[in-house]
């Protein structure tokens, strides 16, 4: 990797840690241990399911919130603090700045997800007393959650490159919600005709498809995930995140920073 990008990425990671982003791990640990102990007493026969569903949902939602709220400030905060000018006065290209910021936040989220995943597996061990082969699919679900983070981080960065932090958060969260309904959108498009069908289909393919990346329910039921599905989802998430990053770079390159 380009050394300048690596520097920006590592600084972004350090800044996120300094901003106490990883403190969410404490809340997560409390949530998991509470659920693991409590659910057996208030429900019937779903201890493992709850640990998997709650654990992975929390990993996903905590990450989405971090991605949006840190991502929206990645560019605007640098402009506000005027540190961006110091960075860009050095031999750093604007696109390198955007890519570095993206990789830094993505790295933070991967580290965060790693610790949360350890928590999920520990809670699972507590309720099941042993691991089973099907628990391996949880790793695939966690991998898909990370792919989801890549897209959301890229989106937050895109909006951050031209909008205010508040509006960026609104846009990013709205796209996350719309992306969760992506399959419904496609179904809606199939029911229409003519120009509306074209427009609806285009919109359905333009918004990120988060529903395909959410396999929490199926891994909770120990259902296997096809290798082809993993491959296609990986390709989709990487291509989509790259596309959004390109958009962010294009906007940021043309932005008047004076």
């Amino acid at each position: 990797m380009n050394a300048r990008i690596a520097h920006i990425a590592s600084n972004t990671f350090r800044e996120a840690v300094r901003d106490r982003v990883l403190y969410n791990l404490i809340a997560f640990a409390l949530l998991m241990s509470g659920a693991a102990i409590l659910v057996g007493q208030i429900s019937i026969d779903i201890e493992r399911l709850v640990v998997v569903n709650l654990g992975l949902t929390a990993v996903s939602l905590f990450g989405v919130v971090i991605a949006i709220f840190i991502g929206i400030g990645l560019v605007s905060k640098e402009i506000e603090k005027r540190t961006l000018y110091t960075v860009l006065s050095r031999p750093v290209r604007r696109w390198e700045f955007i890519v570095g910021k993206f990789l830094g936040l993505a790295g933070t989220l991967v580290v965060n997800t790693f610790f949360m995943a350890v928590g999920v597996f520990l809670a699972l061990l507590y309720v099941s007393h042993h691991f089973q082969r099907a628990d391996g699919w949880l790793l695939v679900a966690l991998y898909f959650i990370i792919l989801q983070f890549l897209i959301i981080t890229a989106l937050a960065l895109l909006f951050s490159s031209f909008s205010t932090p508040l509006m960026s958060a609104v846009f990013a969260f709205a796209l996350f919600v719309i992306g969760s309904f992506a399959e419904d959108l496609r179904g809606f498009a199939a029911m229409t005709h003519g120009l509306t069908r074209w427009l609806a289909t285009a919109a359905a393919y333009l918004v990120p498809n988060f529903s395909a990346l959410n396999i929490i329910s199926s891994v909770a039921h120990e259902q296997a995930v096809a290798g082809r599905f993993i491959l296609l989802n990986t390709g989709y998430a990487l291509i989509y995140a790259t596309m959004v990053l390109c958009g962010a770079v294009l906007i940021f390159e043309r932005r008047n920073l004076k």
Binding site: S43, L49, L54, S211, I216, S217
Partner: protein, 311 residues
């Protein structure tokens, strides 16, 4: 003491006092609004809307709704309620959110089907739930068993019960007793032996302590019903032979009609009444029995299981 320290102590004390006072007041408010408990409210009753609103995290929401259904049923059952209005909608939401949550079908149909106070008395809703479960999980034989069980126990529709067991027996890895149950259902549906087989099957296939206890209590009740029927027949036979009812089982034993003093499954001797009726001594400990009950007996609101039944 510095001013800062004084403020810290005062603020901490005030915070704790306010926290305790608010909890105390809230308890007081709850006592005034006993009928306003949240459990009788379904804010969103449409399972499809809830599924959409879950943003793909429907598995966790299903777990929450399942827990809510368990708590709702448990609370009502404990209070000896006769109406369970929210139970079916809660189970419908749970299974729509997660159609593979097998536990919700298995326990849910057990909650819904039996008449109050043992359940909600909604066998038709229980059948719909089991059928929805089968449509979504056609390879799970337990669901066919549950469906057949409801048809047999609650609706006495032996043909449909036989059909459910037969379909379940064709599922890969189905328990072999499903075939036997289907055959038994076709030939001897109304007999005690068949009921005994059903409850034995339930006992041997469940891992849940409460279902196990329920099965043991039903098996014990079947034994009592059979014992009382046989003993009363024997008493009538004695009366035909001797011209009078026996005064006690000891008298029948002395006359060679019995090999010993008969006892119920809990080890208590049966009671012989002057008119030839046979009764159990403690009907509260023998829930679900239909014979051997004292005249005018009112069962407790909640069936009493013995602690050993759960093992």
């Amino acid at each position: 003491m510095s001013a800062r320290r004084r403020v810290t102590i005062f603020a901490t004390s005030l915070l704790v006092a306010c926290m305790l006072a608010s909890a105390f007041l809230l308890r007081w408010v709850d006592q005034l609004r006993t009928n306003a408990t949240l459990e009788e409210v379904l804010y969103i009753s449409s399972p499809k809307v809830l599924k959409r609103m879950s943003l793909g995290y429907d598995g966790l929401l299903a777990d929450i709704y399942w827990t809510r259904a368990v708590q709702y049923f448990g609370g009502k059952h404990h209070a000896g309620a006769s109406r369970y209005d929210l139970l079916a909608p809660l189970l419908e939401i749970t299974t729509t959110l997660d159609p593979h949550l097998l536990v919700a079908y298995e326990f849910g149909s057990n909650f819904l089907a039996p008449a109050p106070p043992n359940g909600a008395g909604m066998p038709q809703r229980a059948i719909e739930l089991a059928q929805f479960g089968i449509r979504n999980n056609p390879d799970d034989w337990h669901l066919y068993y549950d469906l057949g069980f409801i048809y047999y126990m609650e609706l006495h529709d032996y043909a449909k019960a036989a059909d459910a067991f037969a379909r379940g027996s064709q599922v890969p890895n189905a328990h072999p007793f499903l075939k036997a149950l289907a055959a038994q259902m076709a030939q001897h549906a109304g007999e005690l032996q068949t009921a005994r087989m059903m409850w034995s099957a339930t006992y041997s296939t469940t891992t849940d302590a409460s279902i196990r206890a329920n099965a043991v209590a039903h098996l014990r009740a079947l034994q009592v019903d059979e014992d009382v029927t046989n003993l009363e027949n024997l008493v009538r036979f004695y009366q035909e032979k001797t011209g009078h009812f026996p005064a006690s089982f000891a008298e029948m034993e002395a006359a060679g009609f019995l090999r010993g003093i008969p006892v119920d499954p809990l080890g208590q001797t049966y009671e012989l009444k002057p008119d030839g009726r046979v009764q159990v001594r403690d009907p509260d400990d023998l829930p679900f029995i239909e014979k051997g009950l004292p005249p005018g007996y009112i069962p407790p609101k909640k069936p009493r299981f013995l602690p050993t039944d759960r093992n």
